[in-house]
């Protein structure tokens, strides 16, 4: 009997959350100032290893702001701690932090600052162009953006989510170590969830 009550309550809660989630994904994000939610944001990279496979890693410390405006004057700023690189292998992470790659103690952050955000006719951002500073080098980078959803969360806040992808050449940022073994093209994916302030 007791179990049955708990099951009913659990199912009801699941339905409420699911309904909430449905409403979140239905609309175009409202204009305003958003802060990136690190707990629901993922920055992932993929690089060829010896030409035989693609190695995937991520950065665990990310922060940033999104200023969403209707007139196309939106701004995005993302900061990533390079020492939070995580490739699911402790020894490799140490190597990635070393001067061979990110040189994380010399260059502790990589930063992206947008200078142009393009919107579709619904007012959703579809591409972001800006400056990426990494390993002491700043280069222009364009990210393709796919809006995922926006809406009220179950706690009364307002959230918006975006997936953004780009490919950079590590050699363009002065990361030239082992060009034969490790690919030059790095695919980057950002799965961002931001909370309206």
């Amino acid at each position: 009997m007791k179990n049955s009550i708990f099951k009913t309550a659990y199912s009801a809660a699941a339905i409420v959350i699911a309904l909430g989630a449905t409403s979140v994904s239905a609309e175009v994000a409202k204009v305003g100032f958003y802060k990136i939610d690190p707990a629901h944001t993922n920055v992932q990279f993929s690089v060829s290893h010896l030409g035989t496979s693609n190695l995937v890693g991520r950065f665990n410390k990310v922060a940033g702001d999104i200023s969403l405006k209707s007139n196309g004057d939106s701004k995005v700023e993302v900061t990533i701690q390079t020492n939070s690189v995580d490739s699911n292998h402790q020894k490799r992470d140490q190597h990635l932090r070393s001067p061979d790659f990110f040189n994380a103690r010399q260059y502790p952050v990589m930063k992206f600052v947008s200078n142009k955000v393009s919107h579709n006719n619904k007012g959703e951002p579809v591409s972001v162009t800006g400056k990426l500073s990494l390993h002491g080098v700043t280069q222009d980078v364009t990210l393709a953006v796919k809006p995922v959803g926006a809406g009220k969360d179950p706690w009364g806040g307002y959230r918006a989510g975006y997936d953004a992808t780009t490919t950079i050449k590590r050699s363009a940022f002065g990361m030239n170590f082992m060009p034969g073994g490790i690919g030059d093209d790095i695919s980057i994916t950002l799965n961002i969830e931001a909370i309206k302030q």
Partner: protein
Amino acid sequence: MEALIQMILPSVVLPLLLSVLLWWISRYYSVALWALPLIWLPSLIWLIGWPSLVPAEANEWLMWLVIIATLINFMYKSKPRVLLASHTFLLLLAVIAIAWPVMKYQFDMTLVIELLVVITVAIVLYLFSVSNLITTPTLSMAISSAGMGIVIALGGSLLVGQLAASLASVLAVFAISEVIRKRQQSSLGTLKLIPVMQIYLAILVIARIFAEIPAGPSALLLVAPLAGLIPATRYASAFSAVSVTAAISWLLLTADSSSYY
């Protein structure tokens, strides 16, 4: 295979060839021996690229360190006190420059203490070098540098490990020459090796700070050239070899042994 060749060319082949060339020239013009540290520069430039005039990264300071240390050595070779003070001051500046990117974000007292220990060891090394009493200093430095290359490559950074390996390769021919001469007075002499010691200590500091080489193996690598220089015996180099072997063993026993490279 191609990747392996790319690693060996700048860290072993090029410095060895230049070392043989300098050794051959020095048979006719002994003054050329003062240029020994400079033949390490092509390897450095091959590995890290042409350094900026105002260095942005720790590795880039090494070029200026080598050039200035060689000049100091040549200018003050007959003034031991000035030589000693100048080299110590130069290493102090180099160490501060190398550590600055880290220290400017967060002051780290442990790091400061470690750097002071490095400077203290350097002063002892230079004092013994000025006395020029040691019979196999080049062999000792070559063993220490080779060991440091292995430790850094296994422990944190292939690039910094290659810098140390190329230093060992530069010294290799002269070290063999020392052994063949049956440990008579080295043709190089410890005085000419002071800039090499500067490079050695600077690479060690870079490895400790930026490649996260653990404190234990780093301490043994710091002691390695010292161990080879202090006891003025025929077996001085063996002390370096023991320190280096202990550093490699320590790293292998304590570090993650799963295959990575």
